[in-house]
Every structure is written in structure tokens, then in C-alpha cells.
Subunit: 218 residues, 2 copies
């Protein structure tokens, strides 16, 4: 059987979300490069994969998917094993807690942390001068979010409970880049969050991906 | 067994998302008002339900949930019947398509349509003068989104395929309010989208909710 294909580079946070799930479940996969300078993401071939012309896109035989969280869920369901069950859909309450903290990542954590990553990274995209107002406002938001996380993670080892899940993995890409900004020490004020982050970073799948994501150094 | 509780008013789009799912599955539920003027959403009682002090929150016995999409998924799983299976988690590919278009709603459709609703509504929140630049930019974004939807819905009756799903229902709250703005006629340019919207609005669960959501007239 042909390995599944992921279109887009590992250093994209949304692509990394998919790849870390593929690594966690031990699936065979192929990463297909998309040439943004040649506008390949807007080519007819790619628009069939993703009608909005974005990455990632995903192919499994004749099934084409886009939207990183949807792809990741598909991967986690398809390759689920007793030892690797990151959605917990067999248990109503556990699945609900995985969903709650997956949504918190998407709608609360990412909007606070991602502007800091973009403003403080050294990539071409952000070689514009840093907008300090955006950074300061986002840091305030992030502190409020991390306070809630600290309370949650003082009661449980992971966000959805005492088991690692998709909810935790979703936090990996942006947090990884945040840790390469001058603001990384912020996490030291939240010891349970810091310990949780270290547990995530110790996972072989996460380590493998981290090595492929060029750190955006300040 | 006590009915489940939803905290927050039906006219909130995120609360409506949960309520329409409860109506679709025919579950018994109770809506509990939250007094925003009295800051009840920031009270210790509510912060136990939702540590970010937002609505909706949800209670089923000793289970407390927040984040509307997570609550809705829980409801759709718990009360799933053969005739009402809006997540299709028994079929890998169908579930993936439901997830894809649920994510498109959250990350592409809502960010385009919601600013128009906020700017053009007549509620206290938006009695400030309309920011026409925001409206114009959002309308351009929305047109691009609706073009993709038109292509998709010319091939299938619903977003995830030829079956109604959570993906479609997610579009109800903001689209319902959009249809009360001066820009409603935009949908006439996308006949398959318009027909899809009419199919959604014809559903008894959707009709019931619509009657409870005070239209934000321009």
C-alpha cells in the first residue's frame, strides 16, 4: 500500500501538527514539497487537494483532505492502537475533554501565542520591525491563558486528564517556536505548565519533528 | 435523569451551535441564564464551569464542559441514533469530511462572515458607527469563500457529502444573523449555496432555534 502523502513543509505549524500525529501512530508517510515561490499552492493540481490554496493537504489513496486538525483526526482514528489512542473516542467523557482542550488551543492559546512567534521570528516573513505593541498585548493575553493552564495542569499531568492526547500535541508547533523567542522564560513562572511542556518535548515523535522545524531564532 | 444544562443565551452564536445540536438529537435540556451585567460569567461558580469565564458552559451530571464545538460533539455522540448521526464517526472517510468542513467553518467562513454581522447588527455591542472598511474587506473575503462553497455544493447536497452533518449546522448561527443584514442578497449570486442554506433553514431543529434568536436587524 502506498504511504499517505502530506503536502507542505514541516516548518509550517499546521503541517507539523499533522506530521507529529503520523509519527505518534507510527504511520508510513511521504512529505511532498510545495513551491510557494512558484505559486504551486495556487496551481490547479493543488486546488483539487485544497480549494482554498493552502497547506497542508493530504492524500490517502483516492481520499483528499485539507485542514490540519481534520487530517490529524483522520490519522489518529485510522492508525489507532490500544497503546496509541490520542482521541479517546471510545470513552464519551475522555473524548469530550480531548475536544475541549483542542478547541482551547485553536481559539484561545494560539491567538495569544502566535503573534509573538510571528513578531519575534527571524524568518523573511517577519524581518519587518517587531511591532512591540502586538507583542506586549499578546504576552498579557498569554499570561492569562497560562494561569488557567497552570491550575489545570496542577491537577492533571495532561490537559484532557492523566493521559496524553491530541489536545496536548496541538500545542507543540507554536510553543516550540515560542521557546526560540526572547520571551521563552515566561514559562518559568508556571511550573506545572513548564513540566508539561517538558513531558511533551521528551516524546520521540515530538523530538523527531522538532529536529525538522528550523527554529525561528530571534 | 436530570436534563443536561446549557449556560448562556440562545442568541449567542456559540450557545446556538450547542442548542441546535441538542434539538437535532431530541435531547432534553435546560438553558440557564447568565447575567452578564452582574458579571456572573466571571463568578466563582461559572469559572468552575468555564475557567476562561465565557459562554457556553455545559453540565451533564458531574461532567462540566466548555467550548461550543466540544460540547456539541459530546451531545452528538451521546445521543447518536441510526437516523441522527451528524458526526459519522463510524465511517473513517465520512467523519473526515465532516471534520474538514467543520474546520473550514471555524477558520475560514466565520472569520469572513462574523465581522459583517457585528458591524451591521443593531445590538448595543454594535451601536457604534459601522466600520465600512471592515465590512467591505470581509465581503470580499466572504465572496472568495462562497465561490469555493458554490463549487462544492454543486457536487453534493451538503458540505461533507450527500448527507447533512455537524459541518452544515455549524454554519447556521452566523449565516442566520447575516441574513438579517443589508448584505443578505449576496447569497443570491451563489445558487447552490442559497439552496443549501434553504435546506438547513427548513430543518425543524433549526427553525426552533431561529425563533429564539432575536434577529439583529440593521
Amino acid at each position: 500500500m502506498a504511504p499517505v502523502k502530506v503536502f507542505g513543509p514541516a516548518m509550517s505549524t499546521n503541517v507539523a501538527r499533522v506530521l507529529v500525529c503520523l509519527e505518534e501512530v507510527g504511520a508510513e508517510y511521504e512529505v511532498v514539497d510545495i513551491d510557494f515561490k512558484a505559486m504551486e499552492h495556487k496551481s490547479p493540481e493543488h486546488l483539487v487537494r485544497n480549494p482554498f490554496g493552502q497547506i497542508p493537504a493530504f492524500q490517502d489513496g483516492d481520499l483528499l483532505l485539507f485542514e490540519s486538525r481534520a487530517i490529524a483526526r483522520y490519522v489518529l482514528r485510522k492508525y489507532k492502537k490500544n497503546e496509541v489512542d490520542l482521541l479517546r473516542e471510545g470513552d464519551l467523557k475522555e473524548a469530550a475533554m480531548v475536544d475541549v482542550w483542542t478547541e482551547v488551543d485553536a481559539h484561545t492559546y494560539n491567538p495569544a501565542i502566535s503573534p509573538i512567534v510571528y513578531e519575534c521570528s527571524s524568518t523573511a516573513h517577519a524581518r519587518l520591525p517587531t511591532n512591540q505593541t502586538v507583542v506586549d498585548e499578546s504576552l498579557e493575553k498569554l499570561k492569562n491563558v497560562l494561569e488557567v493552564y497552570e491550575a489545570r495542569l496542577s491537577k492533571h499531568d495532561y490537559l484532557a486528564g492523566d493521559f496524553v492526547s491530541f489536545a496536548d500535541l496541538n500545542h507543540f508547533p507554536y510553543t516550540f517556536y515560542f521557546m526560540a523567542t526572547p520571551h521563552a522564560a515566561l514559562f518559568d513562572s508556571y511550573p506545572h505548565v513548564k513540566a508539561w511542556w517538558e513531558r511533551i518535548m521528551a516524546r520521540p515523535a515530538v523530538k523527531k519533528l522538532a529536529a525538522q522545524m528550523v527554529p525561528k531564532k530571534p
